[in-house]
């Protein structure tokens, strides 16, 4: 039965994801933008996922229809909308919210509130359920069958799958003009995707390295899904609820690039699906490229692996059309979003972090119609929420609470103080984040995301 794991196993899973997440956070740094209150919306979403049991309540319904193992196996394809980043973040964002609440509760206790239960038994059960669900995803998705990446490889496609794509690869023969067009198109699509998804990268996926049978050159993929087609957002039919409209329509809702590379010193991925390559600019290392799209009768079909359309190879001529779409859509969207108020900008981000992966799980289980997915936009517009899974007043409280900047006096050592001073610049940062600056020894005894609490 899902959730039936021991305290020890739960703590081991918490320690594993804590270690990986801290390493990634320290390596990447905070993401901030003048356009979106990124830290603020992430922390609001994480509160919703844990404090309001939002993730647990939907996940248990999903699990009653489809197993996490099956969700993962069905996603072993190009362009399915669920990938290792989505799986990893299911555990990470929930535990992030849990850590925020535990930190708050420990602080209340320290302040003299004696009736505080730091982690009630019901919450422990929910946490074990989510951890158990999470631990069954990536091992059934990654070729290495591991929960987190092994040897910094992120591969999910079989050798036979890869071999079938071979005939679609177009040799580049060191043609700098083609590689420049390719990289520029990818860059424009990346910017568009980050802007349309409020700086969130769930719709961009990178994986590899793979190898064709008679070729030692590594093959990597970069996928973009949910390019603007008018009425679908986050895989959900949002007709009448789209937070924005763009006059430029993408030629397809998804595009997948494959590249073989020569003479690379390093091709590595982290659990957030970020590629680290050496040389960093690998334009002149590209030997062949492939471009594909999933032919879908409706972009929403991308979310149903059983109904995935054919993978259609595209010619190089599509690069200009994709670039033109992405560049024009970015400018139009940028001007539009710049006029939004703070709450709307914040809620589009919170919606993404709370719903984008969960929504796809619900679609895999064919139960997305059971839930309302527009509550974040309804909140932003001051409308009543059409769900009883999310409390409007609590959202208001989270936004207010996180609006205060953290202070470096939270540090327990001089070294921590120096690091935390850097965090003081950001708005919406939950103070528990300062725990990532503790020593390795301290992290080992008491992980970033806290062991299960005794009281």
């Amino acid at each position: 039965m899902l959730g039936d794991i021991s305290d020890q196993e739960a703590n081991e899973l918490i320690a594993l994801i804590s270690k990986t997440t801290v390493a990634n956070l320290l390596n990447r740094g905070m993401v901030e933008s003048k356009m979106f209150p990124v830290s603020h919306y992430i922390h609001v979403a994480c509160y919703i996922l844990y404090d309001q049991s939002y993730l647990y309540n939907i996940l248990k319904e999903v699990a009653s229809k489809i197993s996490p193992e099956e969700i993962a196996r069905r996603s072993k394809s190009l362009g399915p909308g669920l990938n290792h980043l989505g799986f990893y973040s299911t555990g990470m964002l929930y535990l992030h919210g849990r850590a925020q609440v535990i930190y708050d509760n420990l602080n209340k206790k320290k302040g003299g509130e004696t009736n505080i239960v730091v982690e009630p038994e019901t919450k422990k059960k929910e946490t074990k359920f989510v951890l158990d669900f999470w631990k069954r995803l990536s091992p059934n998705y990654l070729n290495d069958e591991t929960l987190i990446l092994k040897n910094k490889r992120l591969t999910c496609l079989s050798d036979d799958y890869i071999e079938k794509l071979k005939g679609n690869m177009i040799p580049i023969n060191n043609n700098k003009e083609i590689t420049k067009r390719l990289k520029q198109t990818i860059a424009h699509l990346t910017i568009y995707s980050f802007l349309s998804q409020a700086e969130c990268r769930f719709t961009i996926s990178e994986h590899g390295p793979y190898y064709f049978k008679d070729n030692t050159e590594p093959l990597i993929f970069k996928e973009f899904i949910e390019l603007y087609t008018g009425d679908v957002m986050y895989g959900l039919d949002m007709s009448g609820n789209m937070p924005y409209k763009i006059s430029e329509i993408a030629p397809f809702s998804n595009v997948i690039f494959g590249m073989t590379l020569k003479d690379m010193k390093k091709i590595e991925f982290n659990d957030w699906s970020t590629l680290f390559a050496d040389p960093t600019d690998y334009s002149s290392n590209i030997t062949s490229i492939g471009i594909w799209t999933r032919e879908l009768s409706h972009p929403k079909d991308l979310r149903y692996p059983d109904y995935l359309g054919e993978l259609k190879p595209l010619s190089l001529n599509i690069l200009e059309e994709l670039s033109k779409f992405a560049k024009n859509a970015t400018k139009e969207l940028y001007i539009d979003i710049s006029k939004w108020n703070f709450t709307k900008k914040l809620m589009i981000g919170s919606n993404l972090y709370a719903n984008i992966v969960l929504g796809v799980y619900a679609q895999y289980a064919d139960i997305e119609d059971k839930f309302n997915w527009t509550w974040a936009f309804d909140y932003a517009e001051g409308k009543p929420l059409k769900t009883n899974l999310v409390d409007k007043d609590k959202i208001k409280f989270y936004i207010y609470k996180l609006g205060k900047k953290i202070k470096s006096n939270l540090a327990e050592t001089e070294a921590e103080k120096l690091q935390i001073i850097a965090l003081e610049k950001y708005e919406g940062v939950h103070p528990f984040l300062t725990r990532m600056f503790r020593t390795r020894k301290a992290q080992k005894l008491d992980p970033f995301y806290y062991n299960l609490q005794d009281e």
Binding site: N27, R28, G29, M30, V31, E32, S33, K34, M35, F36, V38, K180, K183, Q184, I186, A187, H188, T190, I191, Y192, F194, L195, A198, E199, R201, N270, T274, F276, D278, P279, T280, D281, S283, K327, T330, K331, Y334, I335, S338, A422, K425
Partner: protein, 118 residues
């Protein structure tokens, strides 16, 4: 030529000259929508959305925060635009650089130096 800062380089492009613009708001970006060619933008944000619409036109990007794994660094690399992250500036008033000519020199795969041309 005066050195005004250095940081972690995210591209292999070795040298570029351009006009500095210190970006403090979205409006600052909109103001140079049609005039971004050849500019070196200075930002604090390591996300890619602040400079998004003009990034492909820029001569270079300088960011005082983030890292080589930040969204801004990733996209700048794709555009083959010199991008220096976690820049430690040797001057306090970055807005005083706006309108002045500067140069980015990538000394090695991961180190970039910024000069003010006088």
């Amino acid at each position: 030529m005066k050195k005004i800062g250095e940081g972690a380089s995210c591209s292999s492009n070795s040298e570029v000259i351009g006009e500095f613009v210190f970006i403090q708001s979205v409006e600052d970006v909109i103001n140079i929508f049609d005039d971004a060619n050849g500019k070196i933008c200075i930002v604090e944000d390591s996300g890619s959305t602040t400079l998004g619409p003009i990034l492909s036109d820029l001569a270079g990007v300088l960011c005082s925060l983030g890292s080589v794994g930040s969204h801004l660094a990733i996209v700048s690399r794709e555009f083959e635009i010199p991008c220096i992250m976690t820049v430690e500036f040797l001057i306090d008033d970055l807005s005083s650089l706006t309108g002045k000519k500067g140069k980015i020199v990538t000394e090695s795969e991961d180190k970039g130096i910024i000069y003010l041309l006088e």
